[in-house]
C-alpha cells in the first residue's frame, strides 16, 4: 500500500521534473537554434531573463527523483544505474556543462566568451533530455532487470531512441510555449510571434514522433505499449493529446497564460500515462512495485517527510513562480553593484 503511494510519488516527481526541468531544457534548445550572435541576440536575451530566476529550482527535481528511487526502491535504483550506466553518465556530464554554461554566461561581458558558454549550454540542453529520455525508454522496453549488465542494447534501441527524441520535442514545446508568455511579460512583442511559431513546430514534431513511435515500439516495448493503448493509460494519453491541442489553439487565440497550463498538463499527463501503463511494474516485466519496495518503516517516513515538505515547499514554490510571472524578479545590474566596464567589453 505505502509502496504504491511512493511509486506514484515517484511518477509525480518525474512529471514535475519533466515539466519544470523540461521547460528549462526547452529554453536551451531554442537558444541553440536561435542563429548567429547578432540574429539570436534578442531571443537569447529573453531566454536568459526568463530562465535565470527559476532554473536552479527547476533542476532540483532531478535530485528528488534519485532520492525517492534509492530510498523507496533501492533494488530498482541499483538495477537502473548498472544497466544504463553510459546514458546516465552522459546525462551527468550534460548537467555540468549545461549549468556551468548558463551560470557563467550571465556575468560574462565579452561576445567571444559568451558564445562559448552559450554553445556549451545549448548543446547540452539538447543532449541531456535525450539521454534521460532514452533511460526511460530503456526501462519501459523491459530491457532492465535486476542484475542486467551495462550494454549498448539497454539504451540504444528503438524504444529508447523514440523516448529520447520525444523528450527533446516535449522540452522544445514546453520551452517555446513558456517563452511566448515571457516575451509578452518582458514587453518583447516581436518575440511572441517568433516563439509561437516555434511552439507550433515543436508540437507538430511531437505529434509526428508519437505517431512514428506507435508502430516502432509495438513489439519492442510490448507491455507498456499495451498499457498505453488500453484502459487508464490510454485515457491519460488521449487527455494529454487533447491538452496539447488545446495549448496550440490557445496560442492561436493569444491566451498565453492558459496555453502554459495546458502545455504543462500535456507533459504531466503523458508521464502519468506511462505510469499507468507500467503498473504494477517498476521494471517491466520483471520487478513489481511491491517486490522492489524498501523497508516499510523507511517508506512511511519518506511519506511523512514528503508531506511536511509539501507544506513548507509548496507555498515557497508558489511564491517564486508568482513573483516571477508578475515580473518582480530581476537580476542585479551593473548599476546596482556599481560595476565599471572594462576594455574589451562588448555589452
Amino acid at each position: 500500500m505505502m509502496a504504491d503511494v511512493i511509486a506514484w510519488l515517484l511518477v509525480i516527481v518525474i512529471a514535475a521534473y519533466a515539466c519544470a526541468g523540461g521547460t528549462d531544457y526547452g529554453a536551451g534548445f531554442w537558444d541553440l537554434t536561435a542563429g548567429g550572435a547578432e540574429r539570436g541576440k534578442r531571443p537569447r536575451w529573453l531566454i536568459d531573463h526568463a530562465m535565470a530566476p527559476v532554473w536552479e529550482v527547476n533542476n532540483v527535481w532531478l535530485i528528488f527523483v534519485l532520492i525517492i528511487m534509492w530510498t523507496g526502491f533501492p533494488v530498482m535504483f541499483q538495477a537502473v544505474f548498472e544497466a544504463l550506466w553510459l546514458p546516465l553518465a552522459l546525462a551527468a556530464v550534460g548537467q555540468v556543462l549545461r549549468g556551468a554554461g548558463f551560470a557563467l554566461r550571465k556575468p560574462t561581458r565579452r561576445i567571444a566568451q559568451r558564445r562559448v558558454y552559450g554553445a556549451v549550454f545549448a548543446i547540452s540542453s539538447l543532449l541531456t533530455p535525450f539521454f534521460l529520455g532514452s533511460v526511460l525508454g530503456g526501462v519501459a522496453s523491459g530491457r532492465v532487470a535486476v542484475g542486467t549488465e551495462a550494454s549498448a542494447d539497454a539504451w540504444a534501441n528503438p524504444t529508447s531512441l523514440m523516448a529520447g527524441l520525444l523528450a527533446v520535442a516535449a522540452t522544445a514545446f514546453l520551452g517555446a510555449v513558456f517563452l511566448c508568455s515571457d516575451a509578452r511579460r518582458f514587453g518583447a512583442d516581436d518575440l511572441v510571434g517568433y516563439f509561437r511559431l516555434r511552439a507550433w513546430t515543436a508540437f507538430a514534431a511531437l505529434v509526428v514522433l508519437a505517431l512514428v513511435a506507435l508502430p516502432v515500439t509495438r513489439d519492442d516495448a510490448r507491455y507498456v505499449w499495451d498499457g498505453l493503448t488500453s484502459g487508464l493509460g490510454l485515457l491519460m494519453a488521449l487527455l494529454a493529446g487533447v491538452c496539447g491541442l488545446a495549448a496550440v489553439l490557445l496560442l492561436a487565440r493569444r491566451m498565453y497564460g492558459w496555453s502554459r497550463c495546458s502545455a504543462v498538463a500535456t507533459v504531466a499527463l503523458a508521464v502519468l500515462a506511462w505510469g499507468f501503463a507500467q503498473r504494477p511494474y517498476l521494471l517491466p516485466t520483471t520487478l513489481t512495485v511491491s517486490e522492489a519496495a524498501g523497508a516499510a518503516h523507511s517508506l512511511r517516513w519518506l511519506g511523512i517527510v514528503t508531506l511536511i515538505a509539501v507544506v513548507l515547499v509548496g507555498p515557497a514554490l508558489v511564491l517564486v513562480y508568482r513573483l516571477d510571472t508578475m515580473g518582480r524578479l530581476e537580476p542585479l545590474t551593473d548599476t546596482d553593484t556599481s560595476a565599471a566596464g572594462l576594455p574589451g567589453d562588448d555589452q
Binding site: A52, P53, V54, V57, N59, V60, L62, I63, F64, L66, I67, I68, W70, T71, P74, V75, F77, Q78, A79, F81, E82, W85, A89, A92, V93, Q95, V96, G99, A100, A103, L104, K106, P107, T108, R109, E149, A150, G294, A295, H297, S298, W301, V305, T306, L312, V313, A316, V320, R328, L329, P331, L332, D334, T335, D336, T337, S338, A339, A340, L342
Partner: protein
Amino acid sequence: MLSIAVHLANTPPQLLPAREQMAFTLAMHILLVPFGVALPFITVLMHYRALRRDDPVALLLARRWSAVMAVQFAIGIITGTVLSLEFGLLWPGMMGRWGDVFGLGFGVEAWAFFLEAILIAVYLYGWRRLKPWTHWWLAVPLPFTAAMGAFGIIAANSWMNTPQGFTLDAQGNPENVDVRQAIFTPMFGPQYWHFIVAMFMTAGYVVAGVYAVGWLRGRHDRYHKLGFTVPFTVAAILTPVQFFLGDNAARAVFHKQPVKFAAMEIVWKTDRHVPEYIFGRLHGNGTISGGIKIPQLDSILAGFKPSTQVTGLTAVPASDRPTPTEATIVHWAFDIMATIGSVLILLALWYAWIWWRHRDLPLNRWFFSCAALAGAACLITVECGWITTEVGRQPWIVYNNMRVSEAVTTTHAGGIWTMLGIVVVLYVTVFSAFLAVVLKMRTRWRIADEGAAARGAHGPETDIPYGPRREPVPGEAGAATGGGSGTPSGGAR
C-alpha cells in the same frame, strides 16, 4: 605485505577509478559548500546592518556578495547533482542494499535544499522590485534551510561511519529498519556541529580575506573595513567554539570508531600510555619514522589520563583496517587540521585583544596578512576533515558492514577511467572559469570605486578619505559610489 597483496588482488579493477572520481568530485564540491551554507547568513547580516542603520556601504557590500552568490550557488548545484548521480553510477551496490536504511537523510536534505534554492532565487532576484524589509525577511529562513540540508547530508555520512537502525537477516540483508535510529547515529551529533561551524568559519574567513587583501593593497576605506569586520567577527567568534567541537568529535571517534582513531593517531598496538605523534609516517611493520613524539599525550587526549587504553590498528585483521599508507594520509590530514585550527585560535585572540584595546581595526600589516591567509587555511582544513573521516573508514563504505569493493559498480574500469578524465577536465575548466568570472567582477567593482573616488576628489564636495560613500544613484551607469579608495594615504603602501 603479503596480506596487502592478497587484498589488492581481490579488489575489482574498477574500484580505483571509481574511488578517484568520487574523491575528486567531492573534494571540488566541498570547496563550494561553505559558501552555499554560510554566505547567505553573512550576507543577510550585512544586509540587516544596511537597512537598520541606513548604511549605503553595507548595502553595496550585500548586493555585491549576492551577485557572487548567484554564480557560486549555481556551480554548487551542478556539482551537487553530479554527486547524487554518482551514488548510482559508482556505488550502486551500497544504494541497492542500504538505500532504504539511510536514504531518508538525503530526502530531508533534498527538500531543505529545494527550499533554499527557491528562497535564494527570490533573494538574488528580489533586490530591484521588492520592498527592502520584505526582501530581507524572505532571506531570513535561508540559514535555517542550509542547516537543515547539512543535517540530511551529515545524517547519511555519519550513518556510514556508525551504521545502526537495522538488523541483518540470514542472507546479510538489512531488515527491521528503524529510521530514527538510522538518522541519529552515535557520530551524528559530533559530526554535525563540527561541520556546520566549519562551514560558517570558512565562509567568514574567506570573505574577510578578500578585504584583508584589499586593505594590504592600501585601500583603507570604510568599504573594506566593513567588508572585513562583519565576516571576520563571525568566524573569530566561532573559532574557539570549533576547537572544542573538533576535540569532542575526535573523542567520539575514539569511542565509536576506534580503528579510525588509531589511523588518525597512527597507533599500531593497543596499549596504555600511548604517545602522541605530531606528523610522522607509519610503516608496514608498525614502526614510525619522523614526526615529533610526545610521551603519554595520546592517551591523555583520548581519556584525560595516561592510563587510558587506546585501540591500535592491529586490533583488527589487516583486511579490515586502513593500510599504513592510508593511515599516514589520515594522520597527516588530522594533524594539519588540528594545527591550522590552533593557529586560527591565536588569530581570533589577537583580533579580540585589538578590539578590546582599540575598539577599532589596527593598521597592522601582520594581522591583515594572517587574516588574508586564514580563508585559504580554512579551505584546507575542510578538505583535511573530510579526508580524515572518509579515508579513515577504509576499507569500509558502511563501517563493518560493507566494503567499498562490494559497493562499486560492475561497469568496465576503462569506462570509469574515461569518465574520470572527462570529469577532471570539465571540473578544472568550470572552476577556473568560475574563478575568472568572480575575479573579473572584483576588478569591475574596484575600477568603479576608484573612478568614483577620483571624480569625488576633483568635484565640489571632496569626500573625506575614510568617510562614508554616497548611495548608488539608480540609473547612473558604471561607477556610482564615492569614497577614498583610490588614493591611499599614510604609510600603508
